[in-house]
């Protein structure tokens, strides 16, 4: 099973959607997001920092998330990302869009 390490293996925008989703349950720092994605995908998604951070910056740029410095559970300095209202809306929209896309792909693959 191919472990995804670069965004090119995901559909464009999917990584952002996954990050938005993982922030939906509460603010997290970068490493916690990676871990969350890894565990939630049953070890199938391992996101590298070189993919994670550009995606996080895109969220900041679009105003979907806000970042602030805090202290991690192991007492280290870490930057926490929190979903904004716009981000929540984006998450819902993207999710619908993604489901439609998956269904479309399925239709194509199942057609003969």
């Amino acid at each position: 099973m191919g472990l995804t390490n670069t965004p090119s293996d995901l559909l464009p925008g999917t990584l952002e959607l996954l990050i938005l989703k993982s922030l939906g349950s509460g603010p997290k720092h970068g490493y916690a997001i990676v871990e969350h994605l890894r565990l939630a995908s049953r070890d199938m998604l391992r996101i590298g920092e070189s993919a994670l951070y550009p995606a996080l910056q895109r969220l900041l740029l679009n105003g979907w998330a806000k970042a602030e410095w805090g202290v991690s559970e192991t007492n280290r300095k870490a930057r926490y990302y929190r979903l904004t209202a716009a981000g929540r809306k984006q998450l819902a929209g993207e999710r619908d869009e993604f489901e439609r896309m998956v269904r479309a792909i399925q239709y194509v693959l199942e057609a003969n």
Partner: protein
């Protein structure tokens, strides 16, 4: 928040952003390493593994930068394209840039001046922590109030001792004159300061020591810290000055230090020395405010303690003020605590100063508006020419917003060039101008002072210029950009109807802009016209007294020679060759000081009292100045002599019942008795100590403009003995008279500071002020008119070029050149006439304000108003006609072949 705002913020804080990102990724890595360690790896292995896992960090950072600055390349593209377009139209660019440079430049220039006076920090280390404290008090009696918003000594101590939010509170008096003795005695301005002055300002004297608390104890030996300027000028920068004894106000003072160069001296003027509070009674004879808890005379400046906000300081001092109020029944204190600025502007004056600044800025702003209208017009005209290019871009799918952005980028480029050019010119020229103008802002009687104001540009000025530049680019760029990019593709691409269709719409806008320009320059020119009439009036007006051939002698404020000496001086001066008359007065005509008093009729309440100017004069005063006694008589020698006995040396004398003689001016007589005969009537004058002086009118004098040129105020003269200002009228010429008087004074007392000046100088000073304002107004007015006529010229010649063909056809059909000219002008000048009418109406309102501020300016002056209006119309017509002339030379055949 829009994405572009976040992009801009990113650009502004790029380095911080990068640093945070590095830290974040490093934090991420160490979290991963810690995780791996928990899973059983050695620290070293964990470290390596986490570094491997993290991937190419540099590449990620590159990616991130691209995310943030992603769309900027297209901005640079706009800039490059804009520069290319501007370079291709050199004339257009030059006219636009120069126009804006003028507009932005003069506004930046005037702002540097206002900045230096009103907004700058005090020249002291850590000035942002300094706060000026001022108060207004109701329901409490004070002996006297020197200056607005001041504090009494006891109040100062209360704030200084009770505050916790301020690390220190200093107090200083307004700088006042006193005589600095020596071989050439001179009057200097000096400040009396609390002994923590140097420590609160954190500026210890580089030479000697600062004032310390012991210096302020009663009975302490008199010491003084000299200002750097006096040390270098009067004392030739003597390195052994510390410990030397100098004479101030005829008392010995020991110099203990020399203050830092440019140290704040308690006001916009430089000070000569800093003396401790306890020295006040020695320096300034008369009531001793330092010992009088009801005498308000001190300005307070505090330094905020660590981490104390302005709000905390306000809250705490408010509590202290409330405590003081509780100690004195019926008293209400309102404190004002602001960032300290060089000009301690008290509440009452702040409004006036800000108002004057607003009028000034408005006048300068009008010129900027005209400049903007001009450039907008140029852009519109050019936009019509470019309409094809733009239509093509629109039809190829460029969004309207994209086209507007492109056009605005061009405007921004023009504005930046204009702003840079203008600001550089302004910063350089206004400093010079102000340095030239400042000395003449003070009456000649005041001893030479240096101004301690700093007009060099600071961050605030740069921000002002930047915002002005960006604002103007929107102001002149937005409307043309929207207008030009209106999607009217059909019309424009079908060339034939294009010009007619879009130029009619653009034409109306251009017409409006011309109208606005004309209206604005009309306002400025009419104001100038009225100012010039006012200036003319100051030169031709009869001030009501004759100032020619009169010299006056005045002593420093701390020196009042004994009456005997004054009497002798007067007698000796009268005996000088050529002298026709001599007299003493308490105040110099048109001089520096005024003394108003509340006056009322017997039986009226104190609330009903009216203000009159008060002067004490010897009997010969009226004939010397040629002020006619219309009714009654002047004072007698006996009245003058008895006034001398009841002078300030015997304070009780004022409380004695008994009536003093008085002479009132015609205006005063009219104010109190209308047409009735005032001779023998009684007036009550407030003696400013809670009592009244009864005055009996013995004469009525003709009105004279003694307080301000062009202003007649009610005057009340009382008799006085020899003393005050000696007026000498002589046929011998000023130079001879002055040297005669000087010799007399030196012979009687070589250690006294005094000045002998021509009375004509005071009149000239008043004219100089009018002249300065008029020159400024005229400069602005002419600039506005030039800009407006350039605008009219541009619009008319544009109209001619657009209609060249039509004119040719008309002429081919038999119209004369004159007809063609008339057609063009009628259309082009309609906005001019409409603008002129609006301008005249607006000017009527402005002139009413001006007439209140400046002497001799009458709001309904037909010559000033009409002359200016005719001039504006004439210039507009001339510009229009000149621009329209090519139309009259239109050759029908050539015109038909045009295009």
């Amino acid at each position: 928040m829009a994405t572009w705002v976040r992009r801009l913020l990113y650009l502004l804080r790029q380095s911080r952003h990068d640093r945070e990102l590095r830290e974040e990724i490093e934090a991420h890595r160490s979290l991963r390493a810690a995780h791996l360690e928990r899973e059983g790896l050695t620290p070293q292995q964990a470290d390596q593994a986490s570094r491997r896992a993290i991937g190419n960090v540099l590449l990620a950072r590159e990616d991130i930068r691209e995310i943030w600055v992603g769309s900027w390349p297209s901005f640079w593209q706009d800039v490059r394209y804009g520069l290319r377009t501007l370079r291709k139209n050199v004339v257009f660019t030059a006219v636009a840039v120069v126009t804006l440079a003028l507009g932005i430049g003069i506004n930046t220039g005037i702002f540097t001046v206002l900045n230096g006076v009103l907004f700058r920090d005090l020249p002291a280390p850590g000035a942002h922590d300094l706060v000026a404290i001022s108060q207004t008090v109701e329901g409490a009696q004070f002996t006297a109030t020197a200056g607005f918003d001041t504090f009494a000594t006891a109040e100062y101590h209360a704030y200084r001792d009770r505050t916790r939010t301020l690390a220190g509170v200093l107090a200083h008096s307004d700088p006042r004159e006193s005589t600095l003795g020596g071989e050439a005695p001179q009057d200097v301005f000096g400040s009396i300061v609390s002994c923590n002055y140097f420590s609160v300002l954190q500026q210890p004297p580089p030479l000697g020591r600062a004032l310390v608390e012991q210096d302020c104890q009663p009975g302490a030996p008199p010491v003084v810290v000299l200002s750097h300027r006096v040390w270098t000028t009067t004392f030739a920068a003597d390195p052994a000055i510390v410990g030397r004894e100098i004479e101030l106000a005829r008392r010995p003072f020991t110099v203990v230090g020399v203050a830092a160069d440019g140290m704040y001296g308690g006001g916009p003027m430089g000070t000569a020395y800093f003396a401790p509070l306890s020295a006040e009674p020695m320096l300034w004879p008369g009531p001793a405010p330092v010992r009088d808890d009801k005498y308000r005379w001190l300005h307070l400046i505090g330094r905020r303690g660590d981490g104390q906000s302005l709000e905390q300081v306000r809250a705490e001092l408010g509590v202290i003020a409330a405590q003081i109020d509780r100690e004195q029944k019926g008293r209400t204190t309102t404190l004002a605590i602001e960032r300290a600025t060089p000009m301690t502007v008290p509440n009452g004056v702040r409004g006036v100063a800000t108002g004057a600044a607003a009028v000034l800025m408005a006048a300068f702003g009008l010129v900027l508006l005209i400049a903007c209208a001009n450039v907008a017009n140029l852009l519109l005209a050019r936009g019509t020419v470019r309409s094809q290019e733009i239509a093509i871009r629109l039809s190829l799918g460029a969004g309207r917003a994209r086209v507007v952005r492109q056009l605005l980028t061009e405007s921004l480029l023009i504005a930046i060039a204009g702003g840079l050019l203008g600001s550089v010119l302004a910063l350089w020229s206004f400093q010079t101008l102000v340095a030239l103008a400042l000395p003449s802002a003070l009456p000649p009687e005041i001893p030479a002072v240096t101004w301690a104001l700093d007009f060099s540009p600071d961050v605030r000025v740069l921000w002002f210029a930047l915002i002005l530049t960006l604002g103007t680019s929107l102001l002149f760029g937005l409307v043309p950009a929207l207008q030009v990019s209106k999607p009217d593709l059909n019309g424009v691409i079908k060339q034939e109807t294009a010009s007619a269709g879009s130029s009619r719409r653009g034409g109306r806008l251009r017409g409006t802009l011309v109208g606005v320009q004309v209206a604005l320059s009309m306002v400025l020119m009419i104001s100038t016209g009225l100012l010039m009439r006012g200036l003319y009036a100051t030169y031709t007006i009869d001030p009501g007294f004759s100032y020619r051939d009169v010299a006056f002698l005045s002593f420093g404020t701390d020196y009042g020679p004994a009456a005997v000496v004054n009497q002798r001086l007067m007698d000796q001066a009268a005996a000088l060759p050529g002298v026709q008359a001599v007299a003493y007065a308490s105040q110099t005509p048109l001089g520096e000081s005024l003394m108003g008093a509340g006056v009322r009729l017997p039986g009226e309440s104190k609330e009903a009292q009216r203000y009159a100017e008060l002067d004490g004069v010897t009997p010969g005063y009226f004939s010397l100045l040629g002020i006619r006694i219309v009714r009654g008589r002047t004072f007698t020698d006996a009245e003058s002599a008895s006034a001398e006995q009841s002078s300030a040396r015997q304070p009780n004398a004022q409380r004695q019942p008994g009536v003093r003689p008085a002479i009132v001016s015609e205006t005063a007589a009219r104010t109190f008795w209308g047409t009735g005969d005032p001779i023998g009537r009684t007036l009550l004058r407030d003696d400013m100590r809670g009592g009244d002086v009864a005055l009996q009118v013995v004469g009525v004098a003709a009105d004279a403009q003694l307080t301000a040129l062009g202003t007649v105020v009610p005057y009340i003269y009382e008799p006085r003995g020899p003393g005050g200002v000696l007026l000498v009228k002589s046929r011998a010429g000023f130079a001879a008279t002055a040297s005669g008087i000087r010799a007399l004074v030196r012979a009687s007392d070589p250690s006294v500071a005094f000045r002998v000046l021509p009375l004509e100088g005071n009149v000239a000073w008043w004219r100089g002020i009018s002249g300065m304002v008029t020159t400024l107004g005229a400069g602005l007015g002419v600039l506005a008119l030039v800009l407006a006529s350039v605008g009219i010229y541009g619009v008319v010649s544009f109209a001619v070029s657009r209609r060249f063909r039509e004119i040719g056809i008309r002429m081919a059909l038999g119209a004369t050149a004159l007809d063609a000219l008339r057609t063009i002008l009628r259309q082009a000048l309609r906005p001019v006439v409409i603008g002129a009418v609006i301008g005249i109406a607006a000017a009527a309102a402005v002139s009413r304000i001006l007439s209140g501020v400046l002497f001799g300016v009458s709001p309904a002056d037909p010559l000033g108003l009409g002359g200016a209006a005719v001039l504006v119309l004439f210039v507009a017509l001339a510009a229009g006609t000149m621009a329209a002339r090519p139309a009259t030379r239109a050759d029908p055949t050539a015109a038909l072949r045009y295009e």
